[in-house]
Amino acid sequence: MSKNEWPLWEIFIRGQHGLNHRHVGSLHAPDAEMAICNARDVYTRRNEGVSIWVVRSNDITASSPSEKGPLFEPANSKVYRHPTFFDIPEEVGHM
């Protein structure tokens, strides 16, 4: 088993029609079809989903934690990007 480990797959499940697929976890499987079967058995036992996506973990390109500063910090000082500067008329109520 350790010599020939199945590849890892990331599993995305859509809970209800209209909602986005959400990452729920990962599992091992020999190929995409079996990954869907395994995902059905591991992640939808309690009626959680209406649709399953699987993708090889290797095929995901992730941002690197060491680049966190340059990637995300510049946005901190740009408060004007948040729509918090509008006066909302009282008649509109809670938004």
Partner: protein, 258 residues
Amino acid sequence: MGAAIEAVDRAAYADWLQRVGDNALILGHRVSEWCGHGPALEEDIALSNVALDLIGQCQLWLGLAAEVEGKGRSADDLAFLRDAGAFRNVLLVERPNGDFAQTLMRQFLFDAFHIELLRALGKSTDLRVAEIAAKAEKEVAYHLERSADLVIRLGDGSAESHARMEKALKSLWAYTGEMFLDDATDQALAEAGIAPLPSSLKSAWDETVTAVLAEATLAHPGQSWQHKGGKQGIHSEHLGFLLAEMQFLQRAYPGASW
């Protein structure tokens, strides 16, 4: 549904329901023996799901069997308090798990039969039978998809997995014929329109099995001598050991519940 019951001998009907229920119970128990021992976490969970589906189905079938029998027994009584000679499952489902190949091949050969039986039972003249079959059919369609997928992947896999699947197929093949044998009970149920004749399911089964084995690059064993007897209560020695484990608690502590 009252008419369907009147149209058939009560004892024959109860007997037939036990055949369907016992197939699910015994295979469900066999598969549950893998729980905690699967070759991978994912397989372990998948096998346990299949076992749970089958045991859930057996509850419904044996519940109806007890009702039709009308002797005040429950599904639990039938499952846990009958001896081997009173079980009506086919010999295939009591075959030991062996290795993963043997377990999967047994599952596939049975699933391919099970789905045809349940599809036909969906048209039963007894509504209760049709309703149980409709629920079970969805579960079994998935069992078949999964077991067929794995038979293909392991048959057409490495030299080692191919050899193991080939060996499993050879050792189990002689237990497949019994699923399609008709006897007096089957005739009575078919005449009442409650169930199909087992022999009428053979050609669809052949088609599925031939196609999957070809894709799995496994040699079709063809015609050969076949075991029989399980449906009449004549079982292999393996069933006794299975029941000893499955029934231990109720036998040692009668009426225990939680």
